[in-house]
Amino acid sequence: MELTRRKFDTLIIGAGGGGLRAALQLASAEAHVAVVSKVFPTRSHTVAAQGGVNAALANVRPDNWHWHMFDTVKGSDYLGDQDAIEYMCRAAPQAVYELEHFGVPFSRLDDGRIYQRQFGGQSMNFGGGQAARTCAAADRTGHAILQSLYQQNIRAKTHFFDEYFAIDLVRDGEGCLLGALVMAIASGELMLIEAKTTLIATGGVGQIFRTNTNALINTGDGMAMALRVGIPLQDMEFFQFHPTGIAGKGMLISEAVRGEGGYLVNAEGERFMERYAPHALDLASRDVVSRAIATEVREGRGCGPRKDHVLLKLDHLDADTVHKRLPGICDMVRTFLGFDPAHTPIPVAPTAHYTMGGIPTNRFGQVVVPEKHGPEEPVPGLYAAGECACVSVHGANRLGGNSLLDIIVFGRAAANHIIEYLRENRYHRPFPDDGLDAPMARLARWEQQGDGETVDALRGELQQVMEADCGVFRTEAVLTDGLRKVSALAERLADVRLRDHSRLFNTARIEAMELENLMDCALATVAAALARQESRGAHTRIDYPKRDDVHWLRHSLYHRANRSVDSKPVRTRPMTVDSFPPKERVY
């Protein structure tokens, strides 16, 4: 196969909010940037974010970044890095104002300022009354942000490679990042993009679970690419199950529904969150609400013929307000359930939603790994931001409204650090002769002919195993079994064959490589879940029901080479304020 070679200052892999925010910052600084995305940018999964983005603007109720920081640390079950959290919460208002200046059509208050709604896990005054911190464009905030960021990149003349699939990163003998091998999906042609800096912004890996809220493209490509060049993944055991996916189908029903006054009931019609979170009720943290729903279902108080879900009620609210504040949700429920949620409760269940773990970075977006000089040594030239990264602002449980914030704050921060790096590293490093051996071998493997298993069947099995053995409630026995099963599936991956070896727009080949990526991320997730012998945030071990700060106030690190898990300390010291020490978490 012919190979085109292109050189850029910066390669950004992924064109969701994180990648586009970084690209805009870099293009504005006149860096030569290439954005590679396997889908047209506005189809990236940021588009599906509904409820909003958190920032202490205090437009509706009193607020300040320090309260936001407290909520985020508490929400993380104290596993979040407090320097990164402080940075994010302080940067949030400015980051949101920038979005508004870029053209994001935020909903407005009567005085013309940005509308803010209440969301889960938010408080005023360090655990006091409910805050209203989530800036919203109706319930299509992700769509609105992604469109505006793409539009601004058109203005800035960012160079896009749309529908290009990244196959592998290339690292030299000294560990420096040199760029990536990518494939134009339409033509099947290969291109080597050499870059002084590479930013991974490829999003999460919700597709390891059968029922999930994620797009089909969320296959953890960047995480797996990082693993393959020797970078560990951090805190992968923490996978967020969103309390309210449409039962059995998975489509996301935003937390905004509860923020606007909706609440959950069980088969007895009881508002059960009163028992689990007497103060915050339905606006407790997502891990708390998901566990509550799962407990109701386990104890036989689920709704429906199979008693496998609960109901989300909105019918006590004014129908016009529901239609106006939650138009997208109303559309979706009409489409997939055939009724108007303003009049009929929505059947919901905890659904795989968000990857808290990912590629370890510091608050500058630099990818950091345990090397000779400590646990967090930057990999020269490599950055990551957004859901694929673990910076770690979400720790063991992400607060609603903090993911859109994460991508814009750290997309921007990574770009700013890249600009500095480019000043000091003016030339591309030499590209070694064997630099493409591994990525080319990865591609060549799929040229093997003959009968074998199919991508579709193996992916289906993987998703079933992960759902059954790595769900909301976990035990040593089930996880051990899960790890054994996923390892067996990983072995069988070698026997999978493509039937279609054509070159032009071969989505079967893309799905095959995505399956490899899913497999590596699933192994990391289940291995890390087995290793962590405590319950914290989204990781609930029935056999270790308590949080154990003595042994486990640490980030896990999964290494691909020997499928081992070790750990590094949590950064409990913020930048300027006092640390929030671990406390019992009640809502």
Binding site: S107, L216, A457, D500
Partner: protein, 233 residues
């Protein structure tokens, strides 16, 4: 359940053809969408090619022509479709393979309408104010997901794909003209001048008929024409 699906693979087909494909009725569950069926068909024949991502009608990847009408496969219920279900690529654009069309001409139209907010004032340190009434002007516009269902169903676009900008791009143009924060009205209108870019719309309204988000490009085009008229008098 029976399907008739447009197949074209330029590496080995000289011409496109309609292929009969079938799914065992046992596989069809209540509430299934066409995308679910296409994924099952692809599991049988992995060479079947189409774009897809979110599966819930928000990313705009899987626009296609379904029983003669453009729609998103992921929010088109099988139960509402007459069988055999005929699935073709969206018309009016070059086919790359099977149901995948080359959207570059469509994206070029989008880029041609200056699709971003232009405001020359010094940036305030907080948000620019916008009244709820002004913000409401953007409803029905900002929701566009660029799926191309409208533009590729528009006869005016089929006839003048290089000259007429098409309903999607013109809806975007009005999205910024209607934004109280935008200051490029004169330039935007000047850019749309002439007999083709805007005025080739003959209010056939196919765009309104097919928009999966329930938007109304024809109305947006009408508003642009009104504004032009108002400015020229």
């Amino acid at each position: 359940m029976k399907f008739s699906i447009y197949r074209y693979h330029p590496e080995h087909d000289t011409a496109p053809s309609m292929q009969a494909m079938e799914l065992d009725d046992a596989l069809i569950k209540p509430g299934m969408m066409l995308l679910d069926a296409l994924l099952l068909l692809k599991a049988q024949d992995e060479s079947l090619t189409f774009r897809r991502s979110c599966g819930e009608g928000v990313c705009g990847s899987d626009g296609m022509n379904i029983n003669g009408r453009n729609a998103l496969a992921c929010i088109t219920p099988l139960s509402e479709l007459k069988t055999p279900i005929e699935v073709r690529p969206m018309p009016g654009l070059p086919v790359i393979r099977d149901l995948v069309v080359d959207l570059e001409p469509f994206y070029r139209q989008y880029r041609a309408v200056t699709p971003y907010l232009v405001n020359h004032d010094p940036e305030p340190e907080v948000e620019r104010r916008q009244s709820p009434a002004d913000r409401e002007q953007l409803d029905g516009l900002y929701e566009c997901i660029l799926c191309a269902c409208c533009t590729t169903s528009c006869p005016s676009f089929w006839w003048n794909p290089d000259k007429f900008l098409g309903p999607a791009a013109l809806l975007q143009s009005w999205r910024f003209l209607a934004d109280s924060r935008d200051q490029a009205t004169d330039q935007r209108l000047a850019d749309l001048d002439g007999p083709f870019k805007l005025f080739r719309c003959h209010t056939i309204m196919n765009c309104v008929e097919v928009c999966p988000k329930g938007l109304n490009p024809t109305r947006a085009i009408g508003r642009i024409k009104e504004l032009m008229l108002k400015r020229s008098t």
